[in-house]
Point group: C2
Chain length 348, copies 2
DNA sequence: TGTTAGCACTCAACTCGTTAGAGTGCTAAC
DNA sequence: GTTAGCACTCTAACGAGTTGAGTGCTAACA
């Protein structure tokens, strides 16, 4: 069967209406509230076709129709294309900048928490923001200093000004001058290298050079390795989990609990992040509908994600999680907006 | 009316039974399953008395009885006293150490997350752990160093080895020697002071001493102030929020959503933390039942908290949040256990 | 050939009355 | 003081009946 103009109009009308009301929508409603001027009977015939084609379905025989995943997919694709066309047409004509929603904050961590919250408040859905992440960051600067007898502070600054620090317990004492020498030695050898590039050869050379401080150097390198590890697991901030309860179709006990559990267990969100980082090569916004999401517990939801990028190339993901019956247009708009703001914020 | 031995036995039986089944318990059940050898009619009379005294209540006329907040209170106080007596009797006789449940971890932050999780898994309730917090921490060590042109890294180590760091944008360049001098100057002036003790007099003296680097010193002091601020809001880790759904009396939509919201908005838990830090002067475990909790959204729950203490005197709180119908004995036992482990962990 | 009116049919949701069962309070007897 | 017995109350579960929204199909219409 073919999809003609009229069918598209009816499908859109069904989806729009369902998004608004959340109730299955019947043929009479469509006949009354569209400019098609067709009777309910004709609409019924068309709807039977649309159902056969898999775009809509009936919860039960004598109910109206609701969109299927495929129906939403069609709607979203259509909508995105139209939006793109609209954008192309007026180019940068007015590109109305919405006022900056994000408070100014100093620390990246706080900024991202803020983004998660702002998104949650604005969209009324659950949100997640993954911190920027980059493989193979290089070491920019290392500094060790003795803060008291037996305790040495090691500070490691990675590319992109990511700071890591540890306190190392050290049995032997170290005087200020030696400390200075060690610092110079460490920096001249390790600075500029990626964490992965520190191999055995480098380690043994450093240890040898350090003489009596060989053990200490080992400890420091261990600390660097630990920094690498803690850099590896992606930090994720979530917000608005309780928004889930606003949507009856998600708020029955088992579904809600699974969803909230996923939001709590941030490791599980990694799927979502990596998935959209992979596919999102064109930097666009991705919409996952129902079964399309890579996370099991979100099969009854839709997920909209976008990636943002730092100057240094590190990429992060942000996204919202809501019911399939979601105001896609508004969400995509909002996410696009926040994404822009975030890119700007990192560019100062 | 007086509370005699028999009434106490019946009250305990009602509560025990209700904790197990979650159903209102009737007179016949009590008559069958206690060693009192009384008929249901007698039990009924006693239960009528207990109801009049406010320890139990009926959801509706023809149902069994459930414990009231006062009933739980009586039960818990009684239980705690008995436990204490038992403990006193056998002194340290066997003091069976349960195996260490906590994985060894390096960073305090991870340790506390771990505690929250372990508690949640072990008790099947929602849990929270507040990071140790101490007012008036003194500064132990400050170090600034230039990591690249125009960017200066400031590291501040507070008492208890709490490390803070910031990157300061600095327009004027600074050579290594001057940097050293500034460090010495800063440390000799500020080290040993509490954050609050840095007053205008000290600031202006430092600024004057620093000469051309006066502005930089100001920036560094600002960074210290920021560190103080970020130290001020208590870090709280939560876990097991979804456990709430396991208890039907809490899992209706509005209640669950409020509770989860509170667990998400960690600031609201501050009440709970400060409250138990205040009252918990004897270092014991506190049980809040229903209306007793200082947090609005937990009026339908019970909360059990304990404080732990670091060597340096900083105190933190841990607690579990569950239904009033909670296995108090097991929970108190578990919390006591974790508390001991935590105290030990910080003592190495 | 596409569109429409009409009609029989289906199904969920609601209402209402009935019943069963658990539990109580009260009274009178032990 | 304790107990058996009985009338009473209230919820939960069940089932029948009703309503209303919506459908599919057919036949007539433009």
């Amino acid at each position: 069967m073919e999809m003609d103009e009229r069918k598209i109009k009816i499908l859109k009308a069904v989806i729009r209406n369902y998004l608004e009301t959340g109730e299955p929508v019947g043929s009479r409603t469509i006949s009354k509230y569209t400019d098609l001027n067709l009777s309910s009977a004709t609409i019924r015939n068309e709807m039977a076709d649309l159902e056969e084609m898999g775009y809509i379905l009936q919860p039960h025989t004598s109910a109206g129709r609701i969109p299927s995943d495929a129906g939403y997919r069609f709607y979203v694709d259509n909508m995105m294309r139209e939006q793109q066309e609209k954008l192309d047409k007026r180019e940068n004509e007015l590109n109305k900048k919405e006022e900056l929603l994000l408070e100014k904050v100093d620390r990246v961590e706080d900024l991202l928490k803020n983004v998660a919250k702002t998104l949650a408040v604005n969209t009324n859905y659950a949100t997640m923001v993954a911190a920027p992440h980059k493989n193979g960051r290089t070491i920019k600067f290392i500094q060790i200093s003795q803060i008291e007898k037996g305790k040495i502070l090691a500070v490691i600054v990675l590319e992109g000004n990511v700071i890591k620090n540890t306190i190392i317990e050290n049995l032997t004492d170290i005087d200020t001058e030696d400390c200075l020498k060690l610092n110079i030695m460490l920096n001249s050898t390790v600075a500029g290298l990626a964490l992965e590039e520190i191999n055995l050869a480098i380690i043994s050379r450093l240890t040898a050079q350090a003489g009596e401080y060989g053990m200490l150097i080992r400890d420091i390198l261990d600390a660097i390795a630990a920094a690498a590890a803690s850099e590896d697991d992606i930090q994720i901030y979530t917000s608005g989990a309780t928004n889930i309860f606003k949507y009856p179709e998600l708020s029955d006990n088992t579904k809600a609990s699974k969803l909230i559990y996923t939001l709590e267990e941030k490791k599980m969100l990694a799927n979502l992040v990596t998935d959209s980082l992979d596919k999102d090569s064109d930097g666009d916004i991705k919409v996952y509908i129902g079964e399309e999401t890579p996370v099991e517990s979100m099969k009854d939801c839709s997920v909209v994600t976008a990636t943002y990028e730092l100057e240094d190339g590190a990429k992060g993901t942000l996204g919202i999680i809501g019911p399939k019956r979601m105001d896609y247009e508004k969400v995509v708009e909002t996410i696009k907006n926040i994404k822009t703001q975030l890119n700007d914020a990192f560019k100062h």
